[in-house]
Symmetry: C2
Subunit: 328 residues, 2 copies
Amino acid sequence: MTTIKDVAKLAGVSTATVSRVMNGTGYVNPSTKEKVNSAIKQLDYRPNDVARSLYKGKSKMIALFVPDIMNPFFPELARAVEDVTNQHGYTFILCNTDDDFEKEQTYLNALQQKSVDGIIIVSSTITKELVGKISTPIIALDRIIGSNISSVTVNNREGARQAVQHLKSVGCKRIAHICGPEHVSNTAKRLKGYLDEVKNEDWFLSSYIVPGEYNFETAVQATKKLLTDHTEIDGIFVWNDLMGIGALKGAEELGINVPDELSIIAFDGITVGETTTPSLSTMAQPIYDIGTQAAEMLLEQINNSGYKTKREEFTVQLIERQSTRKRG
Amino acid sequence: MTTIKDVAKLAGVSTATVSRVMNGTGYVNPSTKEKVNSAIKQLDYRPNDVARSLYKGKSKMIALFVPDIMNPFFPELARAVEDVTNQHGYTFILCNTDDDFEKEQTYLNALQQKSVDGIIIVSSTITKELVGKISTPIIALDRIIGSNISSVTVNNREGARQAVQHLKSVGCKRIAHICGPEHVSNTAKRLKGYLDEVKNEDWFLSSYIVPGEYNFETAVQATKKLLTDHTEIDGIFVWNDLMGIGALKGAEELGINVPDELSIIAFDGITVGETTTPSLSTMAQPIYDIGTQAAEMLLEQINNSGYKTKREEFTVQLIERQSTRKRG
DNA sequence: CGCATTCATGTAACCCATTACATAAATAAT
DNA sequence: ATTATTTATGTAATGGGTTACATGAATGCG
C-alpha cells in the first residue's frame, strides 16, 4: 500500500501539505496543490481509513441490529438503511441478534471497540440501561427502547383498528385475531387496536384471540384450530403478513374459501403478500421510508452536536387485495 | 474511553506488559498478570480495535456483496455468512451492488481503505481484472468470477436437467422454459440443462424458451403470453422460485389449474415456495450451507498463507410440492 | 562456579493520517 | 517604511495499540 509519505516524497513536500490537499483544509499554493494531486494520481494513492479513524475517533461506519434478516420484513429495511448509509460515504454493518440479549451485548461491545459511529436497533430484548451506558448515537426502529432514545415507528394501534374496520366494512360479523409473539411490544399494541373495535360487540368472545409465534407453520395450525373451534368466524385480523399467509394456507387446507367464506387481513405490507393466491390484504407499513428516516435521523445525530431526542411515527395504509371482499 | 495507558498506570506496569497479558504473548509473571487483569476489570477496559487494526493491517471485518438483499434468495445467504463471521469474532459488512460495476468499484475501494480482511462476492458484472488488482482475499459465490478466484456454486446444468426430468416423470408432454436475466451466468447454465433434455424431442420448439427478468410481475406476464400462444404446454421449468411464483399467478389468472392442467417447477428453494397455494416444486439449493462454506473458505484464505484456489460445487435437490403432480 | 538459557519487563519504534504549533515569506494596512 | 495579516509549508505531537530490541534477574547445566 502506498502511504501519504510516498506521496509527500514524490511531490517533494511534507505529509502535512499532502493532508491539506486531500482534505481541502488550510492554505496550499495552487502550484503545490497540483504537484500533490499529480503525485496522488501517479501512485493511485488512497488514504488509510483506519489511521484516519484512529485519530478522529470516528469510523464512518454505522450498524443495523435486526432479529433475523431472514424474516421478510427486514431486507427492505436493511436496504433502505444501506442506501442512505452508502450515499453519505458510510459503511454498513449488519447484525442478526435473534432478540438475544447476550448477542446484543457482544455486538455492542465489538462495535464500540471499532468506533462505529451510530447504530439503528430493532429489538424487543435490549434494555435502556444497556443502551444508556453507551455514548454511540442510537436510533430505535419499529419498537421503542426508552424515552431518551430517538425512535421511528408506526401507528400500530390505529392501524389494527383500521384493519378490523375494513373487515367489518366488507361484511364480517365474527372477527378473530391471531396475535404476534408475546415479547414484542407491537403485539400488545395491535391487540389493543383489535380490542378497541370488538370488545363492545355482543358477539365478541375472548377465545377469538389466539396466540401465535412469529412463524408461518404455527400460523397455519393456529388458524385451523381457530376455524375448527369457531365455525362462525368470517374474518381474521392476523398480526403480520408472514402469519397472514399461513392463515391463508390454513383456511385452504380446511377447504374454506378466501374471501367468499372468510376474509383475512394482516399487517406489514411485505412483497410476498402480493404474490399469493388469493393475494393478501394488509395494513402496509412504508418500510423503505421508515428505514430511510431512521438512517437520516442517525446521521443527523452523529453530525449535529445539538441533536435532541426525536420520536417519528409513520402511518400504515390499507391495501385491499383479494383476501378481503365485500359480501352480498 | 479508557486506554491501555490507564490500565498500565493502575497496574504499575508498562503498556507492553498489559498488551502481553491481553494477548497471551511473551512472558508474564503470574502475579503481574493478576494485577493487570484486575486493573482491566476495575476499569472495564476494552482495547481499541482501530489502533490494533492500524498496526496489524487487519480489521477483523469481512464483507458480502449481493445484488440486492431484497431479493429473497439473499437473506438466507447473508444470514449464513454473518453467523460464521460472528462465530469467529469478525464483523459483517453488507453491500448492495445492484450488479452495477461502478458501485462495486466504489465499495471495493472503500473496503480496502478500511483494511477489510476478506470479501464474498455475488456478482455478474464484476470482472477478474478488477478483482485481480486487489490483494484482499475474495470468494465468488453463486457465480464464478475467474479461474484464480475460489468459488462456491451449485450444479446448475444438472439441476435444470433433473427439473425437466421430473416434469417428464409426472407426465408432461410439452415443456417450456422461462429464462432468467441475460447477464447472469446461471441463466445460460440452466437453459443448457433444459435443452439437454428437450432439444431432441420431436415436440420441441424454440419458442418454448421465453426470456424473463428477475422479477415477479414480468414472470406473470411471460407466463400468460406463453400459455396463450401455446395452449399445448403442460409443464414449465422456471428459472427461479420468485419467477415460479409469478408463473403460478399467471396460470391462475388464465384459469389454468396447477397442477391438474399444468405443472410448474422452479429453482432455488427459497422459503416462500412452501407458502403459496399450490406450493411450489423446486430444485432446492442448500442456501445456508453454501453461505457457510463460502464464509469458511474465506476465513481459511485469510488465515492460511498457503491457501490455494478452490472450487466447491454443491448439488441441488428436488423438492416435490403441489405444483407438480402425476397425471392419470 | 561460570556461562547459557529462560523468564520478566521496560523503552521506543511503528502503523498512517491529522493537526497544533512554529516559522517564514508575501501582502496589506498605517 | 514599519507593523499587522494573510499565505504557505514544515516539524512534531497525537490517536491507542503491538512488538523489536535491550536489559536484568532467575534458573539450568556442565
